[in-house]
Symmetry: C2
Subunit: 228 residues, 2 copies
Amino acid sequence: MRDALVASAFQLFLERGYEQTTVDDIVALAGVGRRSFFRYFPSKEDVVFPDHERCLADMTAFLATSEESAEPVARVCDAARLVLLMYAENPSFSVQRYRLTKQVPGLRAYELSVVWRYERELAAYLRGRFADRSDGSLRADVIASAVVAAHNNALRSWLRSDGQGDASAPVDRALGYVQAAFGAAPLPMATATVTPLDQPDDVVVVVSRRGAPLWRVVQEIETTLGRE
Amino acid sequence: MRDALVASAFQLFLERGYEQTTVDDIVALAGVGRRSFFRYFPSKEDVVFPDHERCLADMTAFLATSEESAEPVARVCDAARLVLLMYAENPSFSVQRYRLTKQVPGLRAYELSVVWRYERELAAYLRGRFADRSDGSLRADVIASAVVAAHNNALRSWLRSDGQGDASAPVDRALGYVQAAFGAAPLPMATATVTPLDQPDDVVVVVSRRGAPLWRVVQEIETTLGRE
């Protein structure tokens, strides 16, 4: 019945517009009573985003079962991928909703509040992981925000292209950018990562574990800069 | 008259609560008509945030007049400081509003939409500056989001401490964290910055202009790691 209500709602939103559709219209088309609607959805806005509550609960559970040894930034990136999965489960529905949300300011506000809840989930986990740092709360907020922004940038590109192709590769690239800026090196052994940029006055960012042998860091820089 | 309306509104919000105060109550206390209220404020929510439109306009103008040579991340950090200035102009008012916003979900939603508009301003500027990069839009969104998160983390700490002390030092520290992660070196000449972290398996991040002499990068790493 829940799925039928969502399907009826979207049929009417597309035919008549969101504002012109009432809950009464939706339940009439779905052939159920008003009480059934409100058993599943607190408001008309909620039927537009039927899966966020489940996804938020999944994210909370996912982060709560994290291993102590998990690299925190990688872990919140994986948590963000749960949101992508939800969108990718049903591309045509996700694209319809994206178009609808862009047109209706009230839905845009609703979406901002949902995004904020995801961000709070990620930040809460990071705050716990960074509890022994004096700047733990700052790091947690900044990284959570960056992860959400990167995820949403790639997700929006995919939605704008009508949900064509695989969304996970661009999301991986986007999250990789945040991990390069904030994450620890992924390997437990000493390692160095060098990222050259393509600007005339570009910068080189070297991320290395403190235990990495210096010669290896230098070797990586030399190789990347083409100075050897 | 605008200031009188804001003062009357806040007096009533504190005495009776936000939800229990009507626009009629506010104009009665201020001794003006309803039309005067709506000339200044589209809705009751807007009187809670009387200065954001001005601040958004200031930010737009500030970014529009940026020099081509300005380092983009430093520039959006400076733009974010305009918001801090607005809060710091009137600490007791800012603290009152902070408490009110925490209590009223509708105001929280309003605030999220304002924060989103600031973030869009910063991202639009960065997108222009990164127009020649294939990942320019991603970088713009991530950095704008990180700047806003850092600024708001420090701002909230200051508001929680009742607006005591200087807010600009913690905001500078917070924005410095984002600049270290994403910004280019501040000097036009070759330079290297090494940031050691205080974790057992900590990482070292070296940000260097491509033109920096290798010996100087290595020297910086050695000094920081205490290996010389």
